[in-house]
């Protein structure tokens, strides 16, 4: 028999509705969405070493909250990316609590200047992309990550962030222009 996944005891409502996620369904969701969650987090945070941990946290939260997902309210992708976004926010908060690291140090880490044995080897253009992303504001970086890494539609991003569709479009084009300038400086564009 297929087991039911749960990280906590079921609430009576959940027991009644049987809304927990089955292992098979979870594995399928994981296979389908792993890439976009991984990429979204890679785009948002400056430390590749933590990406795997955060991906794991996102999917654990999916299991915890699956019973509360209402397809009438949001597309699954948008709901999932809402969880990913909150996980990244919590990560930033805990980083702030523990210590603060200068952006240069972080970029140095990404570029492999510090502790190279702990840094996943990135090719040159990916490195340049991450360095350029780090120059965007958090808001811009989040929107770029939701659009390109998480592959959400502008409408979904707008709904998630409480912005208008056109506002999302404007921020995206402004961000791309910034990236173009940064990548140009780095000599990453031909």
């Amino acid at each position: 028999m297929e087991s039911i996944l749960s990280l906590r005891e079921n609430t009576p409502a959940e027991q009644k509705s049987g809304s927990n996620i089955k292992t098979g369904v979870f594995k399928q969701l994981y296979e389908t969405h792993y890439k976009r969650v991984y990429n979204y987090i890679s785009y948002r945070i400056n430390n590749h070493h933590d990406t795997g941990d955060l991906v794991s946290q996102v999917f654990e939260r999916v299991i915890q909250k699956y019973g509360a997902y209402d397809p009438k309210r949001a597309a699954f992708e948008a709901w999932l990316m809402g969880i990913a976004r909150n996980t990244v926010t919590d990560y930033f908060r805990s980083q702030k609590r523990n210590f603060s690291v200068s952006l240069d140090y972080v970029i140095g880490c990404i570029a492999g200047n510090n502790q190279p044995e702990e840094v996943i080897v990135l090719n040159e253009s990916n490195k340049a992309l991450l360095q350029a992303l780090a120059k965007l504001s958090e808001k811009e970086r989040n929107i770029v990550a939701l659009k390109y890494a998480a592959e959400l539609k502008n409408t979904d991003i707008a709904k998630m962030l409480g912005l208008s569709d056109s506002n999302v479009g404007v921020i995206l084009s402004r961000s791309l222009e910034k990236l173009r300038k940064e990548l140009g400086k780095e000599g990453a564009l031909q």
């Binding site: 996944l5 749960s6 990280l7 906590r8 005891e9 609430t11 009576p12 409502a13 292992t23 594995k27 994981y30 792993y34 890439k35 991984y38 990429n39 890679s42 785009y43 590749h48 990406t51 795997g52 991906v55 794991s56 999917f59 654990e60 299991i63 909250k65 509360a68 309210r73 709901w79 809402g82 969880i83 976004r85 909150n86 926010t89 930033f92 908060r93 996943i120 080897v121 990135l122 253009s125 990916n126 992309l129 958090e138 808001k139 989040n142 770029v144 390109y148 890494a149 709904k159 998630m160 962030l161 409480g162 791309l176 990236l179 173009r180 990548l183 140009g184 990453a188 564009l189 031909q190």
Partner: protein, 307 residues
């Protein structure tokens, strides 16, 4: 420089799949499945006890209540000889109310983090919490003491105690919360649905609903909490209603003075001194009359009119 060409290159670059550079997909999945297996075992072990991860204490409005709450914490740790638990009421699976009786002289010493920062009305530094009467800061502004106790992931209990003036409290709320004037517009951000009372005391109307912000200043998605205010035009007399989706994460144990069990339209709850909490469809509706002068009978009517 070819701008169009560059834009195309950036779009291509933004399709980079970082997940291919790491071989962790399988590893992470196995970790999650293992963790679930372990947590199932832990849950089996703990089934006897009520799951209470975070202990929550409501904001405090009167100095008298401050004393009760602070000494209440002492009770839970090392002051058992000063207090006796006379009643415990559970509402649903995740909320517990404790009523205590004083059996000795409580330790009213001001905790280290607030030492030298609290004053009486005449501007004298307080060494002890007053049993009655207001507490002031250095500027002579009346302060509210807020105490939040929560459990860390490692199981250690942390108590955070602060003294904030009404202005500071309001400023913090404004900076950390989004205020909306239409309850419906709050619903997309919440992990639960809710209804507001059809009955309101005379002169009162729905005023605003507040949601917690994330670090970008936007309301948190799928949030489990919301604060609703009903006003008669004088904000000091607002009736406060906290909405809280009840689960293991939002569970709390509260000491808010004497409370009695209550049942309204088949829903279980508690009624206390200007407080009425009732759980409806997994959501705790926590009414606080504060300084409004609204009595329990009217709070009861408000709760009764939630459909």
């Amino acid at each position: 420089m070819n701008k169009e060409n560059h834009s195309r290159q950036i779009e291509e670059l933004l399709k980079t799949d970082f997940s291919r550079e790491s071989d962790s997909q399988e590893k992470i999945l196995n970790q999650i499945l293992n963790k679930l297996e372990n947590s199932r075992n832990i849950i089996e072990d703990k089934k006897e006890s009520l799951p209470m991860k975070k202990i929550f204490v409501k904001p405090i409005f009167t100095a008298a209540m401050v004393v009760v709450l602070i000494t209440g914490f002492v009770t839970t740790s090392f002051g058992q000889d000063l207090w006796r638990i006379i009643k415990e009421i559970s509402v649903g699976k995740h909320a517990k109310y404790t009523v205590i009786e004083r059996t000795g002289t409580p330790d009213l010493t001001i905790p280290e983090e607030l030492k030298g920062k609290l004053y009486d009305k005449s501007g004298n530094v307080l060494a002890y919490f007053p049993e009655n009467g207001a507490i002031y800061n250095q500027r002579g502004e009346e302060v509210l003491i807020s105490v939040v106790v929560y459990e860390n992931e490692d199981g250690s209990v942390v108590t955070k105690i602060e003294a904030l003036s009404k202005e500071e409290q309001a400023a913090r709320e404004t900076s950390q919360m989004t205020t909306l004037t239409d309850p419906e517009s709050a619903k997309p951000y919440l992990a639960f649905d809710f209804s507001l009372p059809a009955y309101l005391p005379e002169g009162y109307a729905f005023d605003r609903i507040q949601l917690f912000n994330d670090e970008n200043g936007q309301p948190v998605e799928n949030c489990e909490y919301a604060s609703v205010y009903f006003s008669n035009g004088d904000q000091a007399k607002d009736i406060y209603l906290q909405l809280r989706l009840m689960n293991e994460e939002t569970a709390y144990e509260a000491d808010i003075g004497n409370v009695d069990e209550v049942e309204i339209n088949g829903h279980k709850g508690i009624i206390g001194e200007s407080n009425l909490d009732i759980e409806i469809d997994g959501v705790m509706y926590m009414f606080m009359a504060g300084a409004s002068g609204i009595n329990n009978e009217q709070l009861f009517k408000m709760a009764e009119s939630i459909r």
